[in-house]
Subunit: 280 residues, 4 copies
């Protein structure tokens, strides 16, 4: 439905990945060859942690319902701000209204959340999903996307204590409610979550055919592979990106994250683990 990127590493200008690369997120908003839709013009959002971010730091956000490709505020702000950890998202709406409260990322305290995909049969399951959200979180839901409900469901189920276990429980709950309403494949998508220090990126769908997800290779290797490559300048050795589709066609820069996997950026390192994988 959408395209997103998550960056962690040395502080960089947000624009470096959002606007200024060959296949930047904004370029993808006009043309994303690997996307379910090729145009993502239904609003966008950026969430960024401060320069001295640690786990617990509160991120700032910018949301707009104008298409990203001509938004002057987006250009101004992403050039003016540097951050060591940020999310950016361009939206292709399936149904819910185009409004700032439906733009990702979503925020709760120090947590950011964004999603590419959908919960199937939303009209059928919406009420039961909302009821599964804890009463203290219910009034905090500000928009009408399936994604935001998934975020508050994960918060209900312990996201702040154990993100991987809570996301697994939230998705299982989505599948349980979906199946109860006759939805064959309730969950689809890639999700990114951060607390200010770590990024968790989940790739999972009930059908086992999830939207694409990629991570960048370690910068040290890249600079060895491409010693003269201008486009790699300005990135520190900890710089890592997880993204819906590659930001460049330089071979070897981006590697696909497997199905049913959680990818983790932490302390300048990338690792991944199985997530809701079925043993056969």
């Amino acid at each position: 439905m959408c395209r997103w990127l998550a960056y962690a590493g040395e502080p960089i200008q947000l624009s470096k990945l959002i606007l200024d690369t060959q296949n930047s997120l904004v370029a993808q908003s006009l043309n994303s060859p690997l996307g379910a839709e090729t145009v993502n013009g239904d609003g966008f959002g950026v969430g960024w942690y401060p320069l001295d971010a640690t786990a617990g730091s509160i991120p700032a956000m910018f949301h707009s319902i104008e298409p990203a490709w001509h938004d002057e505020n987006l250009s101004e702000i992403t050039h003016a701000i540097e951050s060591p950890l940020f999310f950016a998202h361009v939206r292709a709406a399936a149904g819910p209204p185009i409004q700032q409260t439906n733009c990702h990322p979503f925020r709760h305290d120090n947590w950011l959340f964004m999603h590419n995909g959908s919960l199937a049969g939303m009209a059928l399951v919406r009420r039961d999903l909302a009821l599964a959200v804890a009463p203290e979180f219910f009034p905090l839901i500000r928009g009408t996307t399936d994604s935001e409900v998934l975020f508050y469901l994960a918060l209900t189920l312990g996201l702040r204590e154990d993100p991987v276990t809570a996301m697994a429980a939230a998705i299982r709950k989505v599948e349980e409610i979906g199946h109860a309403h006759g939805v064959e494949f309730p969950m689809q998508g890639t999700v990114a979550v951060s607390d200010g220090a770590t990024v968790w990126a989940f790739r999972y769908s009930s059908q086992g055919r999830t939207r694409t997800l990629f991570h960048s290779v370690a910068m040290a290797s890249l600079q060895q592979m491409y010693p003269d490559e201008e486009r790699l300048r300005g990135f520190g050795l900890s710089a890592r990106v997880i993204v819906s589709e590659p930001l460049t066609d330089l071979p070897g820069v981006f590697v696909e994250v497997p199905e049913s996997t959680v990818a983790i950026l932490e302390g300048g390192e990338y690792r991944h683990e199985p997530f809701l994988a079925t043993v056969e």
Copy 2:
């Protein structure tokens, strides 16, 4: 919180009441002396029935989050369109986001609904109110206002069959849920509802101190009182307005609707009846 007007009568240009009178709704958006807030700049909406409207006709709507006073589309559209029954509303938001889906009037099939006021303690009661909405209506809630929940609660409780009884039941439900959460005065406001032929306007608050509401006097009387008055030209003999505050300071044109009252415009006639009035 807001200002609204409801018109029924011979078809007129929408602009005649929304823009072109001395104290038009748009003038009130910048300065409404009787309002809880004097500026109503947080979006507006217009809903209108077609020229040949009868009970059951589907109204059209225009919503915008720009302040009404400089909106060129509002001026173009309200000058271009004539209607025998329309609602208009300017918003002063208490809390929920400024977005088109939070602009009144709301629509369900042939029904329009708008509200000036608030449900108190919304963060406390929001979830229980949402649960009181019938499951088939729940996924149709598109915004995040208390007003839209009240509309779907009234639909749940039979608005389409008996508007007055259903509105009474919906407000009693609001009061019941509010009291259960320790809210002293849960309901506040004036509400207008139409099915395409009749307008019902309710003035009620749990505290008995409701936002103002006025209705216009019969046009035949007005033209007798003011035979030379330019401002009354162009209105037919059935023209009637119900409105948060008078659209003109011509003495005798507008009369206050009492507390705990439902005012009804039907077949060119105005009448009112007690509504949720307590016998003392």
Copy 3:
């Protein structure tokens, strides 16, 4: 740069061509295979004459900077309004800001004007073009597009008296100023103009390689060709469309307007004549 359509004939709902056909203008805003750009998401506009329009009637307009494909107001308004003569335009901006005053069509008194294409070297020629606009029109320029300047240049040169001669003079002026600044091919594009009764559509570029333009075949012929075709229902015998690219892939419905041609819809008839054609 953009896509547009002009309709004249029996009054129809605007939505019938703007939203509800297979390859409607809004569908083209997301994907226009014949366009210089395939996405036209930088605002749109509709201008329509009233039901009883004659030469001299004042049209109404609706402009928005949101992408057309999800705009709820566009859907509401174009379903609610019928017109015997209307223009619609979706924009892919080359440079000037995305704002309502840069959305086509433009209006002056009873005249509507819209353009697909560009005046080359605008930064070089902008001042001289502005100076060529008559002083009484200069303060009426509200946006910053080359197209609006071309409109006021044509008004300066007699558009209201003789549209074809004035458009030719305006384009010659554009070419003269462009050449003086070293611009090789100053004019590119298709232009539509109406006075409320007649539509003039111009296809011309200095290079002789103009953006595409098509007109629909007489409805009588179409209904004979396709007696059972559902999509032709609801159109009267005078219905005619001129459009940047065909609204349907039904063979034979749309015919290309030649280069260097003015196409004219008048009294239910289509005709065309050479326009600025060079004899070789």
Copy 4:
């Protein structure tokens, strides 16, 4: 017409003056008792220089046409960003369209410019003013305000070399053109200009009755006057504000800038000089 503030001093969060004071600029957007209009809801803008700003640094900008009082992006951005020199402006439009390109401040290279007031008889003088702008600046005019034309006129007349002399020459040009068109009092308003290091604020009107302008007293004096005042915490000893109307009602904090005066903030010091004052 509008309200503005200019800050220079130790870097502070933009929100500290724009949102968080008693009578902050955003509070003034809803209610500015000293303003020609009391509601300034027709868009706003912020321009800020980077943390290490010197003369020549390029400022960033954020403009929006939504009313400032509920704009969530404004709140996010002004809390996230610190700056040693920034401008903020809320607009009450007299006439030109509400669009981002008409929001102040305006920028050219490292220069910011904003204005409260108007050039009288704009429809009469607009063309001559535009012609007085140097051809190289003419295509850079992006909006349709009188204020932006005044900025480019000042740039034409040497703003970058000598701001005070150039502003005087620009205003004299405005008066000369105005008088030639029969406008009695062509210039009205307060103007702020900066190059990244110094702020020049001009108060002048042809009639000698200019919109209000105030400057804050030296922070050292204020902290002596109000040793326990919470509201003065967090400001450094160089902090200075020039503003359309006081941001607080603490007596003695703000002092009026006289008529026909240029006020200057430079190196943490405030001074002012006569500007276009007539000797009598």
